[in-house]
């Protein structure tokens, strides 16, 4: 299988990007095509491990060595067949996943890991190109109906799976277009919206009904839904952003990252000026402004890239945590997810980054607009119980000038107000909808929950994984058994 010594012959290689100054001028995806031969070389680096840690590291359980081998052998269709048994939307994860698989790739012990994500994307794009991804028209219907609330990755995966199992699925989305965070959160330059639309179109042709601009609990009552559907899956995401509650927060020009990103995505797609929650919002542009992004994660990085495309005067990204090391720390060995310094394409496009920075106060101008952010450097240590604590370094306080601040400090959990509170659902201790990963049942009969709404903020790949598992649970609930693929349970299980 594969090429036994491929990893000794070839180095890790990824498609080249357009130069930052070029790509900054547009919102389109900016990697250059890579030849089939080069991609096969990358696949040849896979060692077909006796214990494929990547396959374990992938939240979906993608059978990575097998599709790598198929690509190496030029058996693209077979690669696609293998990939689609575990992943409904490789075109999404192949673009925007932080790739925990690569973090746990065995080759990563002492060499750069296999370019799994690139291979994944190559397979699915080849599949679309060849027409292998086509709507299934001969689905035998069970006569059961399921409503899915939310059309983010979790909702889409749930819907896709349940539809394949023969149930009639209706997806309710409060925004103007389906896709949730994929549509409104992630910038086009990382995930072109045509890619999302391409998939949704296939699903629609297969019979999934999308009802957008419909807010369950408001536009349509939960009672109606429970009456007209045999099951209801809540996949509304963790949309409640974590705020930075410091003096001056009321000043204008300070936005949760999702507000900033969603209105921009709508603009790029020439849609109504609404946010990801279907609410009309004001236009926010970073053009000519000093921008500060609070939060050093991927969402923050998206704010950086977007601001640069707006033509910001400067972009600064702040992080309260200390600067990660370049390589793995001893307490974070392989195959754990590498907590190392990550420089994204957006960072390459120009930004200042600072770590161990405490944000103390927003400073405003006379018009109530934000004009600066008072920060101080901090030092991290551990208290007697081993908890990480920080202390401010005296004399480091300063004010950073800014006219636009985006807060990308993560999410607290699902929006409780409205549907969830209205239904009287039980929450877990972190405020997420309470349901386990065995049957995905909430505290209310025939209501299920999946994705960030159930597990709290997480990755797209986790959302898809939850959606698939939840769909299987719903299928079992409806039919007594399920022929849908599970993530861990073998189809040969003796029960």
């Amino acid at each position: 299988m594969g090429q036994a010594d491929g990893f000794l012959k070839y180095d890790r290689n990824l498609p080249e990007y357009e130069k930052p100054e070029e790509r900054k001028k547009h919102y389109a995806e900016f990697y250059k095509p890579m030849s089939e031969e080069k991609t096969r070389e990358q696949a040849a680096r896979c060692m077909n491990c006796g214990v494929p840690f990547c396959h374990n590291g992938c939240p979906l359980g993608n059978v990575i060595p097998e599709f790598n081998d198929a690509v190496y052998r030029k058996e693209w269709k077979y690669a696609y067949d293998i990939l689609s048994t575990t992943n409904n939307f490789p075109e999404f994860t192949g673009r925007i996943c932080p790739a925990p698989c690569e973090g746990s790739c065995v080759l990563g012990i002492n060499k750069p890991p296999v370019a799994i994500e690139h291979i994944e994307k190559s397979i699915i794009e080849e599949a679309f190109k060849q027409g292998w991804v086509k709507p299934k028209t001969d689905i035998q219907r069970t006569g059961k109906t399921v409503a899915v609330v939310g059309s983010g990755p979790a909702g889409l995966a749930t819907a896709d799976q349940l539809n394949k199992a023969g149930h009639l699925v209706t997806v309710f989305e409060r925004a103007q277009k389906p896709g949730g965070l994929l549509r409104f959160g992630i910038p086009d330059f990382k995930l072109d919206k045509k890619v999302v639309e391409r998939r949704i179109s296939v699903m629609e042709q297969e019979g999934v009904v999308f009802k957008c601009g419909v807010e369950v609990g408001v536009t349509v009552s939960k009672e109606d839904l429970l009456k007209s559907f045999d099951a209801l899956v809540l996949a509304g995401g963790a949309a409640d952003p974590r705020d930075v509650q410091i003096p001056g927060r009321e000043l204008k020009g300070i936005y949760p990252a999702m507000e900033f990103l969603s209105q921009n995505n709508a603009r790029v797609s020439s849609l109504k000026h609404e946010n990801h929650k279907g609410k009309v919002v004001e236009e926010v542009l970073a053009s000519g402004k000093n921008v500060i992004v609070i939060g050093g994660g991927d969402t923050g990085s998206d704010c950086v890239g977007t601001s640069n495309r707006h033509g910001a005067k400067s972009v600064t990204q702040l992080e309260i945590a200390p600067k990660p090391s370049e390589g793995r720390a001893p307490h974070n060995p392989w195959p754990e997810f590498p907590m190392v310094l990550k420089t994204t394409s957006s960072h390459e496009e120009g930004s200042e980054r600072a770590w161990s920075v405490l944000t103390k106060e927003f400073v405003g101008d006379k018009n109530g607009n934000v004009s600066g952010l008072k920060v101080a450097e901090i030092e991290w240590s551990k208290d007697t119980s081993g908890k990480h604590i920080f202390s401010e370094i005296p004399g480091t306080e300063k004010v950073l000038p800014c006219e636009l601040v985006t807060i990308a400090a993560g999410f607290l959990g699902p929006d409780h107000k409205g549907l969830l509170d209205g239904m009287g659902l039980a929450y877990d201790e972190r405020g997420n909808v309470k349901a386990n990963t065995k049957d995905y049942k909430t505290s209310i009969e025939k209501v299920f929950a999946a994705g960030d709404m159930r597990r709290g903020q997480s990755l797209v790949v986790w959302a898809i994984s939850e959606g698939r598992e939840c769909a299987r649970a719903v299928d079992i609930y409806l039919m007594g058994e399920s022929a849908l693929e599970a993530k861990d349970a073998s189809m040969l299980a003796v029960g």
């Binding site: 299988m1 036994a4 010594d5 990893f7 000794l8 060692m47 077909n48 491990c49 006796g50 214990v51 494929p52 840690f53 396959h55 374990n56 590291g57 359980g61 059978v63 060595p65 097998e66 081998d69 067949d81 048994t85 746990s104 065995v106 080759l107 012990i109 002492n110 060499k111 299934k136 001969d138 689905i139 035998q140 394949k164 199992a165 023969g166 001893p330 307490h331 060995p333 392989w334 195959p335 754990e336 022929a483 849908l484 599970a486 993530k487 861990d488 349970a489 073998s490 189809m491 040969l492 299980a493 003796v494 029960g495």
Partner: protein, 1512 residues
């Protein structure tokens, strides 16, 4: 005698022996013949065994001609008037001791004798003296009487003989039935008018004192056959002693289960003019599985001989020579063997058999020649045949011939005709008695010649239909990629590495293939596995279809059968069979299907139905039954093909119909080798794997369309791979033909319930019970349902996950979680993380993955404080790291492990690749890279006197968990300069380890090797490594009796650097079973206190160690886990040399990536022992020794048993033998190695000036065959002082006169020169480490040296350096695995220079078959005067070359040296006419070796040139 209990089963017993006979060719009766035979027997004491008490032997006996004069005299005194010789018979009978019981027996016997037409002339109590017997022998001593019987119905002595046989069998059967208590105490040793047997549970030197008759010089005979038995247990029965009535057997019939089963069907068809129908009925049963293999063989020989065939012909029928691949064999002989193959499958296994009917006496050797057999003829007509030369000292001046029996040859002395009949004359006569060739031509059909039907019956399955079938029959993606693809593409069996860590089939949470419940058995110690590649001349795959006939007759119709070249048949071939319907052949298809809907009992009733079908069809004359599962659909599922064939085979055997028909399996579930092996092993004659074929067609669709490959080629490759795999499976049990493997049931079932075993696999060992029919049905239905489920969700194949961890695949104990926790904990020295690791391993409540996972500690133990548990330092001593060779793993990985083990005081193991001497000295920082355990494996790489001296323990690796019964191969690319040096081989040239140790073909051979090693290093423990399988306990008892200090029971799950996937997965058993059986058997035999028991196999946690101790181990080995600590991430790519973490690779680039560290290993072993101590404290144990065998502290987890495990019965595992408190439960006493009085002690004394003062010493000693391993101890002393360098040549120059015992010159080091005047036995120069050995016949002898044998088999095995000159012939396997010795010899037997990697061999005489197999180094010069060498030469790895001038000079020098040392006549002749004789020489040169040597030459040349350039 001990009955079946716990895991012990008397059926597992083995024995092996010394045999021999003395005869007077002219049939002159004398008491001397008897007395000589007894002395010979007494000189083979070391080939026999004794129990825990020295006075109890394993058995000894003698068979003589009926001493009519003596008996007449004795009887006269008793008032019994004996008629003339030939008019009466004598039944030598064991009766019960109890007088009342005895009288009952006698009354019954007399009644039966009368019923069968005998007059009982009287009884004579055989005078015995039991004063010297050991208590256990005495306890079961019978009362022995001779019964004199006259036959009233006929005057024909042969009719009398036949009727005596009938009487014996009839009375035996009926008395045991009437009085079951006499099962062991009533027994007739012999009943004949011609011969008589005296035998018992005696030591060899007790036979004569016990039987007073044997002391009486009035007792005379012209021949006497003797036998000394070495049994694996200490409770043999008197009746198991040999000789039997016709034979004395040294060896083991591996296929005994199959042979006995087949006899059961054959006996139904018996008819003979020599016996009436009634008599035939009285003779039944011919065989009985409860008797020993030798006893059954004796019974078959008896019926065939009395049925009217000459004895020699009977031997040819039962133990045929290897005829299938011998182009040199005469046509008539081949025809004879082929004809008889249609009647009788070989009784296969190592066998040296002495046989006699009182008029002739002879001997034969199996096709592989695995037992020694030497003879000597004196000028006074005395013929002596024995397992060892010199066991009966003779006047050398009277010797006219010395020879040996060769593989497959028969040797008969016809005492009535007064001459020896040679193999050729004998066989010519027998083979031309009937026109066997014509009979075959006219009757036998070849499958390939049969007409092919016009239309194919079945089109290949495609698309969804194919997928559904694949799912239903359990195909996985892994099967396709890892198994079928390499087979179809390259015709090879897939190879893998590292051990298996998946659950046993019965514990698996996934639906399993039925074959996975069956584990392949393999040969260890009591018989050798075979190398099917290098020794393929003896292997055969052909099989016959059709019906068999009466084996007491021979007619042309007997061979009216269809010949198949292999049991793997194509669709086209099956179609041919399907269409057969004529007078001779008629086929009938049985649909092996059952209801797919869950109804209790449906599978079992379907099985009853197919069995009834098969029976009906057979009775109607259908002689080819096709068992097919093609007709499955949504409603009907397939009966697992193994279940179907097993059931039909068993039921036909029970009905006596089996030989009337043949079974062909047409199955979708035959995918890999093991599936075919189980099908054939449980009765199939041929197998068609149609779905594997369809799958291959589908997999290669594109290549087929483009015409890159043809389907014919792909399928041929697949069947080639399966055939090759089958040979490997047979050969690991020492079986060489598929015919004998068929139905031989060489498997142990694990997790199959008794009702299934009884109906489908009758007689198969299944010790922990398990699945019932409904459970098996359920497993099938899980797959079936997935396949035919009505859903629009895309179906696809399952992922598999046996050979690699996969998320939805089979569970593995080493998985991403456990590997990373183990690495993290040991690298950060964090015991808490280690506990997370152990919790994950131990937490098998959700799914038990191992047998120990089903166990828990009993509640209620009183915990003690941790401080009271013995300290970790004392426990460290009990730890060993696993045997991994330098070569399979990198120097870094190997030496780091050694350093860590030495730091904690445990023992690391060198593995089988030798060890670099630089590691023997401690480093400046105190670290020591020396491995405390030095392994001695079959390849003997780098095993020198110096290597053996530098060890605390010497481990004989009999088998390896990952591939028991198989050899190994280190590919050339892994043999770099360093490894080459350490292994004494050539860099770049691949190395082969043979499957067997060529000096261990039996238990007494093992005793000899232990004796060798004990001589080579008195301070080291000798450890024998076995692999768990049914019966390993009895082998371990044999090891204890052979004086092993330690026995290691390895689990089937041990690692490997390279092994066929099917072996990793399907051979061997978990250590839990083997260990418990070993402990129980040793305790029952009171041998446990003499030997340390060690176990290994995926041990990882303190709990594992505690359970191992409770099941009987006081020491433990850890390998895989230690490698993981060193960085191994279970890539399972060791065989590819691409290990990305530098552990199992020799690639310098990858070795740099090694990050292992001795500190991490010390952390690991400390954690492991701390974990153990915590468990011990919780259980209240202070000392490890207190835990040994404490199975009472264990119980089975009963909470919520899964349906698959609900019927498992682990009580045999937890069984505690009921023995007195005096019986030790762990090692308490040292073995008596009997090395106090060996000749070497004198040699050492003599050699002191040479060793210490550089003086030269000389000496002269008498030597006899009981002086064994001469030179080993002396060399040990030399090495202690002079290391591997030794002394200057000839420093110690000793002459011996007489017959040297085994292993003469074994491991003898440089500076020693031994000269023998006389002869020597097996293993001459074994492991020679630099010494010179010279041997020539007695100066007084008259025979021609070059025509006579002078040294035995397997000379210079594993020798590394030295020189030897042999004035005479050597036996089989001369210079096997020689890597450096230069030797001149005057003729050798079969398989010469096998696996040789270095050294020079000159043969000035005839060479046996298969010369040069597996030879990868060194070279040989053959004097091919007879121009027949080419046909005996195996050219797979080597070529024949002309002699160059350089060669000629070297050769001439060696012959001159030979003449100088031995005065060889032939040597002188050759030198006298050198220019002419030189043309008769050929040089044998291994191809790879030549390539490497040429390259080296070229390199050194260019170096010289370049240096010249520089100078110039």
């Amino acid at each position: 005698m001990i009955e079946k209990q716990g895991l012990y089963d008397p059926a597992f017993e083995h024995d092996s022996c010394g045999i021999g006979f003395v005869a007077n060719l002219k049939n002159k009766k004398s008491s001397k013949t008897i007395q000589d035979a007894i002395s010979m027997l007494e000189n083979m004491e070391h080939r026999g065994g004794c129990g825990c008490e020295p006075e109890t032997g394993d058995g000894a006996g003698i068979l003589i001609q009926l001493p009519h004069d003596f008996l007449k005299q004795e009887c006269a005194a008793l008032g019994i008037a004996l008629p003339g010789f030939g008019e009466y018979g004598v039944a030598m009978t064991f009766f019960p001791k109890d007088a009342e019981e005895r009288q009952q027996c006698k009354d019954l016997f007399v009644e039966y004798a009368h019923r069968l037409g005998f007059k009982v002339l009287g009884f004579r109590e055989v005078p015995t003296d039991n004063s010297m017997l050991g208590a256990s022998s005495k306890k079961v001593e019978p009362h022995i009487e001779q019964i004199f019987l006259q036959f009233l119905d006929s005057n024909d002595p042969e009719a009398l003989e036949r009727r005596l046989c009938v009487l014996r069998k009839y009375s035996n059967r009926n008395i045991h039935r009437e009085m079951p208590s006499t099962n062991d105490s009533f027994y007739i040793s012999s009943s004949s008018y011609k011969v008589m047997v005296y035998k018992g549970q005696l030591r060899t030197n007790q036979l004569k004192p016990y039987y007073k008759d044997l002391q009486n010089l009035n007792m005379t005979s012209a021949m006497a056959v003797v036998h000394s038995r070495f049994s694996t247990n200490t409770f043999p029965k008197w009746k198991l002693a040999q000789p039997f009535r016709f034979i004395a057997h040294n060896g083991e019939i591996n296929t005994i289960k199959g042979n006995v089963n087949w006899m059961r069907s054959k006996q139904v068809l018996l008819e003979s003019t020599n016996f009436t129908v009634e008599e035939i009925d009285w003779l039944m049963p011919i065989c009985d599985i409860n008797r020993s293999d030798s006893s059954n063989l004796d019974n078959v020989i008896e019926i065939l001989t009395l049925g009217g065939r000459p004895m020699a012909q009977v031997m040819m029928m039962l133990v045929p020579e290897a005829w299938q691949h011998n182009p040199e064999m005469r046509e008539e002989k081949r025809a004879f063997y082929e004809y008889y193959s249609s009647m009788m499958e070989p009784w296969d296994g190592p066998a040296s058999i002495s046989f006699t009917d009182g008029k002739i006496v002879g001997a034969t050797l199996d096709r592989n020649g695995l037992r020694p057999s030497r003879y000597c003829l004196l000028d006074d007509d005395t013929l002596i045949m024995s397992s060892e030369a010199g066991s009966l000292p003779v006047d050398e001046s009277k010797v006219i011939e010395k020879g040996r029996l060769q593989p497959g040859k028969i040797f008969v002395a016809d005492l009535e005709k007064g001459r020896i009949i040679s193999d050729q004359e004998l066989k010519d006569q027998i083979c031309s008695a009937k026109p066997y060739g014509r009979w075959l031509k006219e009757n036998k059909l070849n499958l390939k010649d049969l007409a092919r039907p016009m239309k194919k019956t079945n089109a290949p399955a495609k698309g969804m239909q194919l997928l559904q079938k694949q799912i239903a029959f359990g195909f996985t993606r892994e099967d396709l990629i890892s198994v079928l693809e390499p087979m179809a593409k390259d015709g090879n069996e897939p190879i893998g590495s590292m051990g298996t860590d998946v659950p046993l089939a019965v514990l698996s949470a996934q639906s399993q293939h039925l074959s996975n419940y069956f584990k392949q058995l393999f040969a260890q110690v009591s018989n050798p596995p075979i190398d099917p590649i290098r020794e393929k001349v003896i292997m055969s795959l052909f099989t016959n279809l059709g019906s068999q006939k009466n084996i007491l007759a021979e007619t042309p119709e007997h061979c009216r059968q269809i010949h198949l070249e292999t049991p793997v048949i194509s669709n086209g071939q099956l179609d041919k069979l399907r269409k057969l319907n004529d007078g001779s052949f008629k086929s009938y298809t049985i649909n092996a299907i059952f209801s797919a809907f869950d109804r209790p009992g449906s599978l079992e009733s379907a099985i009853d139905e197919i069995c009834a079908n098969a029976e009906r069809a057979t009775l109607m004359g259908c002689n080819i039954l096709i068992i097919s599962d093609r007709n499955i659909d949504q409603n009907t599922a397939a009966i697992p093909s193994l279940l179907a064939v097993g059931a039909i085979h068993s039921s036909l055997i029970k009905k006596g119909l089996r030989t009337r028909t043949s079974l062909v399996v047409e199955s979708g579930d035959a995918i890999e080798t093991h599936h075919f092996a189980t099908l054939i092993g449980f009765g199939a004659n041929a197998v068609n794997a149609y779905l594997a074929g369809d799958t291959i067609r589908h997999m290669f669709e594109e290549e087929l369309e483009s015409g890159d490959v043809s389907i014919k080629k792909l399928l041929a490759n697949y069947s080639k791979a399966i055939n090759y795999g089958l040979l490997k499976v047979f050969s690991k049990m020492g079986i060489s033909t598929v015919q004998s493997y068929q139905g031989a049931q060489i498997f142990e079932a694990l997790g199959i319930g008794p009702e299934v075993i009884e109906k489908c696999f009758t007689g198969t060992v299944s010790r922990i019970k398990g699945m019932r029919f409904d459970d098996l049905a359920k497993e099938v239905r899980i797959r079936h349902k997935r396949a035919f489920q009505d859903t629009s969700i895309d179906k696809h194949l399952f992922i598999g996950g046996f050979y690699q961890w996969k998320r939805k695949g089979e569970a593995h104990l080493f998985n991403p979680d456990t590997i990373s926790l183990l690495q993290k904990s040991t690298r950060t020295n964090d015991f808490k993380i280690f506990k997370q690791f152990t919790d994950k391993i131990n937490d098998q409540t959700a799914q038990a993955m191992t047998l120990r996972g089903l166990l828990q500690f009993k509640k209620g133990a009183t915990a003690i404080p941790l401080e009271e548990v013995e300290p970790k330092e004392s426990i460290f001593k009990r730890l060993a790291s696993g045997a991994m060779s330098f070569g399979s793993i990198s120097f870094e990985a190997h030496s780091t492990l050694a350093v860590a083990m030495n730091r904690i005081g445990g023992k690391s193991n060198s593995g089988e690749g030798g060890e670099d001497e630089i590691r023997y000295a401690k480093k400046a920082n105190g670290d020591w890279e020396r491995s405390a355990i030095k392994q001695v494996a079959s390849g003997r790489f780098g095993v020198t006197a110096h290597y053996l001296t530098n060890a605390d323990e010497l481990q004989i690796k009999i088998a390896q968990g990952a591939k028991p019964g198989e050899g190994g191969q280190l590919p050339g690319h892994k043999v770099d300069e360093w490894i080459g040096r350490v292994r004494h081989s050539t860099p770049g040239v691949g190395l082969i380890s043979p499957p067997p140790h060529h000096d261990i073909y039996s238990i007494e051979d093992l005793a000899q090797l232990i004796f060798d090693l004990k001589n080579a290093n008195r301070a080291a423990r000798v450890n024998v490594k076995l692999v768990s399988e049914a019966g390993v306990g009895t082998i371990a008892s044999g090891v204890a009796k052979a004086k092993g200090d330690v026995v290691l029971i390895a689990g089937h799950d041990g690692g490997t650097g390279a092994s066929p996937l099917s072996s990793v997965r399907h051979a061997g058993l978990p250590w839990e079973l083997g260990l418990a059986e070993t402990h129980q058997t040793l305790v029952m035999n009171d041998l446990r206190s003499r030997i340390t028991v060690q176990t290994d196999g995926q041990l990882r946690t303190g709990r594992d160690l505690v359970i191992a101790s409770m099941l009987g181990a006081e020491e433990w080995g850890v390998a895989t886990a230690a490698l993981v600590v060193e960085g191994c991430i279970m890539m399972r790519k060791c065989h590819l040399n691409t290990c990305p973490v530098g552990v199992a690779t020799q690639d310098p680039q990858l070795r740099k990536l090694f990050t292992g560290n001795a500190d991490h290993l010390v952390n690991f072993f400390t954690f492991l022992v701390e974990d153990l101590r915590l468990e011990m404290a919780a259980l209240g144990f202070r000392m490890v020794n207190d835990m040994i065998g404490r199975t009472d502290m264990l119980e089975v987890k009963y909470n919520d048993p899964h349906w698959k495990t609900a019927n498992l019965d682990l009580s045999p595992l937890l069984y505690k033998p009921n023995v007195p408190a005096s019986v030790g439960l762990y090692k308490q006493k040292e073995q008596d190695h009997e090395i106090e009085n060996v000749i070497d002690r004198k040699l050492i004394e003599l050699a002191q000036p040479a060793i210490h003062d550089g003086a030269k010493v000389t000496g002269e000693f008498k030597i006899i065959n009981i002086d064994r391993s001469v030179g080993a101890m002396l060399s040990n002393e030399i090495c202690k002082v002079h290391g591997g360098v030794g002394l200057p040549d000839g420093s110690i120059d000793i002459k011996f006169i007489g017959s040297a015992g085994q292993s003469f010159g074994g491991f003898t080091t440089k500076g020693v020169r031994f000269t023998v005047e006389g002869e020597a036995n097996d293993y001459f120069g074994k492991g020679l480490s630099g010494a010179e050995l010279v041997i020539y016949p007695s100066k007084e002898s008259k025979f021609v040296p070059e025509n006579n044998i002078i040294i035995g088999n397997v000379a210079f095995y594993g020798a590394t350096s030295g020189k030897s000159f042999i004035n005479g012939q050597a036996g089989e396997r001369f210079c096997v695995r020689n890597s450096g010795v230069t030797t001149v010899v005057e003729g050798i037997g079969d398989h010469g220079v096998e696996y040789m990697t270095g050294g020079r061999v000159v043969v000035l005489g005839k060479v046996g078959r298969n010369f040069g197999a597996g030879m990868s180094g060194g070279y040989a010069y053959i004097w091919d005067k007879w121009k027949e060498f080419a046909s005996n030469f195996n050219n797979e790895l080597a070529d024949l070359e002309a002699i160059s001038a350089e060669d000629a000079a070297e050769l001439k020098g060696l012959i001159e040296e030979h003449v100088q040392h031995t005065s060889s006549k032939i040597g002188k002749q050759i030198l006298a006419d050198w220019d002419k004789e030189l043309k008769n020489f050929k040089k044998v040169m291994p191809r790879d070796y030549k390539r490497v040597m040429d390259k080296l030459k070229a390199e050194s040349k260019s170096k010289v040139q370049s240096s010249k350039v520089e100078v110039g």
